[in-house]
Symmetry: C2
Subunit: 357 residues, 2 copies
């Protein structure tokens, strides 16, 4: 039975990097007889231009009928002056929430070939391999009530609600415990339980589940300390789990530790294994259309998709090995280029991965 | 007229480092005829042990009658099993809120003598000098409603409220604009306006005030990107301003960039210029009582106190120069010790600053 993959190129460099990832997927499809079936849709600015909103209900429904979604990136200055409710980012939030993609996996891996790109000292980051598990459909991102109101004295007040219930915490915690079990066996849960009640509950739920995962060593850390420890000694971490907002901040900081955010994929999944896969980086409007963007994060996102949502681990391994091979060959897009390596275009990089495959 | 300074040693290494800071202040007092009058009080675990709560109303009132407060640090494992409402940290939150200390200034400065201590590459951090202005008495730290409730289906739900009104944003924004005016003229306001309405209002207020400060170049950055940019290229920042929660996270990350958090002071002020001064680091219970803690952050906090709350800039300059001198002499406590420098105790470091003064 064929597996349906929906492609959402999005904006900025999205279409360019997606093109290469699709080429790699098609090569893997042939080589491993995966029987993939592709469809394409609109999200972000591309959808705003066509339909006046960043993700239509029809497109969302179509995505939900597929087995997985591969996304490029959304957003750009063209849509920055629009009313907030219909900006490109809202398309992302809508697909995450609409499909219940609560488990966001964001690896921060330092590729040994790219060790120099980090702003940290080599001894601090060499061998870095962290997985951040971020809750993606709850917390302050979606909490109600929210808005801006006018007080009696005439001044405005803005407010949002940071809210989690036990079941929401439990399911993301289980994702994280399972991931830690398969990796280094260490799970660090990040909260601010000395100040925020919602994270007191978070911590309670993690502690309650811990005995079910005797292979995993659970620890807790306050978010301010976690931000500090990521800078000071990131290799102390294996898997980190946290809520939507802290996860947004910490995963970006962790990704940047590697110095090559253009290399990092991400997965956002629901309990059925359905997932949305996208690079960690954004739409980089400043370099869009120039053919110089790094397609590897998107290619690696496609590999994650094969592994996690389509159960095609062998093909995923092959793609990851191909990426490692082109790095060994010294091929680099501008963002990861250093002296002594060969600067290549988006298309050349994609073609090299296809060839290595 | 004499100036009243309240000393709150607190817990852990607090008493040791405060002792050295007070010795330095007394020396400055004599040398510059400052006419300081000291009193001492209890906060944190020390107050819990004596009164069953981390800060009594009487102590809070006494602090409010002084001209400034110098604090060591609070907290430790001894009090970690207490009910949250009476843990040491609550004393800190109570004094901040009770005295209206909304403006928290946290410098992240790399001392050239300590450049090696950073986990970042020297070229990325050399000359680093950022000031983080954090709102300290509002936002999600104090927002209501908050708590943990049981839903109809029997599961628990935790919730907090992230709330700011215009006047709260305006006063901290003015603190930041003024600071930027006196420094490099650049102000970066950090928010998450693409997701959180409360920070949409934050951004609006900053934009509205900007024309009043034509000398200051205002920019806005999302908090995830700010966390990334602090790791990637921290020297792009001059002054950053943000809310209580983001400020907690970013100021700790920024402090850690320097690699020597044992060197960083902080000030928390209200509109009258009254302020609470404390080191950025915590109470370090693991090394308490050993006489090896670094007293310099507390000594530098005392200098900040003289400058900002007591209008004694000359004495503040002299203390800062004395600290720089002892670093030049190669004296280092354990936390900042590197090969080729001389390891000294807390007391020796304090005495060296007194001598240099
Ligand atoms: C674009 C934005 C809404 C989004 C988020 O905050 O989740 C992005 O920063 C991310 O991390 O995927
Ligand atoms: C101890 C804690 C309540 C406090 C805070 O979160 O404000 C601390 O982390 C700080 O930054 O001063």
């Amino acid at each position: 039975m064929s597996k349906k993959v929906m492609i959402l190129p999005g904006d900025g460099i999205g279409p360019e990097i997606i093109e290469q990832a699709v080429a790699v997927l098609k090569t893997a499809d042939e080589k491993f007889s995966l029987d993939l079936e592709f469809s394409e849709g609109l999200i972000g600015g591309a959808s705003i231009d066509a339909h006046g909103e960043p993700l239509t209900d029809a497109e969302l429904a179509k995505a939900g009928e597929c087995d997985a979604v591969l996304l490029g990136a959304v957003g750009g200055p063209k849509w920055d002056t629009l009313e907030r409710a219909i900006r490109p980012e809202r398309g992302l939030l809508k697909i995450r929430s609409g499909l219940g993609l609560y488990a966001n996996l964001r690896p921060a891996i330092l590729y040994p070939q790219l060790a120099e790109a980090s702003s940290l000292k080599p001894e601090v980051v060499s061998g870095l391999d962290i997985l951040i598990v971020r809750e993606l459909t709850g917390g302050i991102y979606f909490g109600e009530p929210r808005g801006i109101q006018t007080l009696e004295n005439g001044e405005k007040q803005g407010f949002n609600t940071y809210v989690y219930k036990e079941s929401e915490i439990e399911r993301i915690a289980r994702t994280a415990f399972e991931a830690a079990k398969k990796r280094g066996g260490k799970l660090c849960s990040v909260d601010k339980a000395n100040v925020l009640e919602v994270t007191v509950l978070w911590r309670e739920v993690l502690d309650r589940l811990a005995p079910e995962y005797p292979e995993v060593e659970l620890s807790h850390m306050y978010v301010d300390n976690a931000a500090m420890q990521l800078v000071r000694a990131p290799k102390q971490f294996d898997v980190m789990v946290t809520g939507n907002m802290f996860g947004d901040i910490l995963s970006d900081a962790a990704a940047m530790l590697t110095g090559s955010i253009g290399m990092l994929p991400s997965a956002s999944m629901n309990e059925t294994g359905f997932g949305l896969y996208e690079p960690c980086h954004g739409s980089a409007p400043d370099i869009a259309g120039q053919g110089i963007a790094n397609p590897l994060a998107t290619i690696l996102s496609a590999a994650m998709m094969l592994r996690y949502s389509l159960n095609m681990g062998e093909a995923a391994d092959a793609i990851e090995a191909a990426v490692s091979k082109v790095l060994d060959q010294g091929l680099r897009t501008g963002d990861i280029h250093t002296e002594g390596t060969k600067k290549v275009s988006t298309a050349e990089m994609g073609a090299a991965v296809v060839a290595a495959l």
